[in-house]
Assembly symmetry: C2
Homo-oligomer: 154 residues x 2
Amino acid sequence: MQRHETDPEALLEIFQRTLIQAGIKVTHQRLEIFKELCKTTGHPDAETVYKNIAPKLPTISLDTVYRTLQLFAKLGLIDIFGTQYSRMRFDTNTKPHHHFICTNCGTIYDFYSEELSNLNIPDAVRKIGEIQKIQLEIKGICHQCANEAESTKT
Amino acid sequence: MQRHETDPEALLEIFQRTLIQAGIKVTHQRLEIFKELCKTTGHPDAETVYKNIAPKLPTISLDTVYRTLQLFAKLGLIDIFGTQYSRMRFDTNTKPHHHFICTNCGTIYDFYSEELSNLNIPDAVRKIGEIQKIQLEIKGICHQCANEAESTKT
DNA sequence: CTACATGCAAAGGGTTTGCACGACA
DNA sequence: TGTCGTGCAAACCCTTTGCATGTAG
């Protein structure tokens, strides 16, 4: 079962418990970084987090923010977008299509579906902004990687 | 109207015409890079393209590949994923949700939809690999950016 | 022939790492 | 008090840029 909490206090408690269970110290920096993340919407980048907590922690450094965020991700407290396979990728496929992204090798597979290309978009989205492109993004492990893992087992 | 060609020759013709119309020279390098992209699936990164054409163009350099790919993207011949907002982004939202990504400021907005969280995934996808996570990714311009652009016009 | 494209090498920006000091349990 | 976490600075990787030479039209 997944955690679906939104209550700040509940989140903080989960945070503390998770760290303690993992034998990791609950430092001032880690606490502030986590609180900052809970507060923010818009999926901030490391520098934004850094700037926002700087008033409270004047001596913190950007690399601590990075290290802490990676730690949180390992503990399953947060999600990270972007780095693991953040190299630019290129393709000539200009037909409407969707993506299957292998989280192991980074390969992006295209697939097509008329149904998925004609989805009902909730009104909430129009309140956010003007839509240019809609794509389904499916993450998983491609069979090729799965097979390689299998054959390496031996 | 969008281009939906798959025939290699048709693609090459469009390629040549597009470059000529834009007053851009059809060099050996550009041609090979484009052909390589047409041939490949899996949205290669710059280095992969570079390695694949190296046998044909032993003196080509990686930066030419980058420059050429950016040029193609500007001309609308290809799509690029990843660089513009490739900084890592973090969030604590572990509820099932979808993303609206502003292509101007890079902000990621979350939205929710029960309907969209229970989509029919085509069988073709299962042939690619094991699914871990399904998210809709909507790209566009958020109202905040649109408003700022408006007020700057003056 | 001339302007544009390329190759080289070095710079740039975001992220990661090694090391010694500092702080939590 | 011992061990883990932090800050500093330098390294690292991918991508971009400046400049002189090469080449398509």
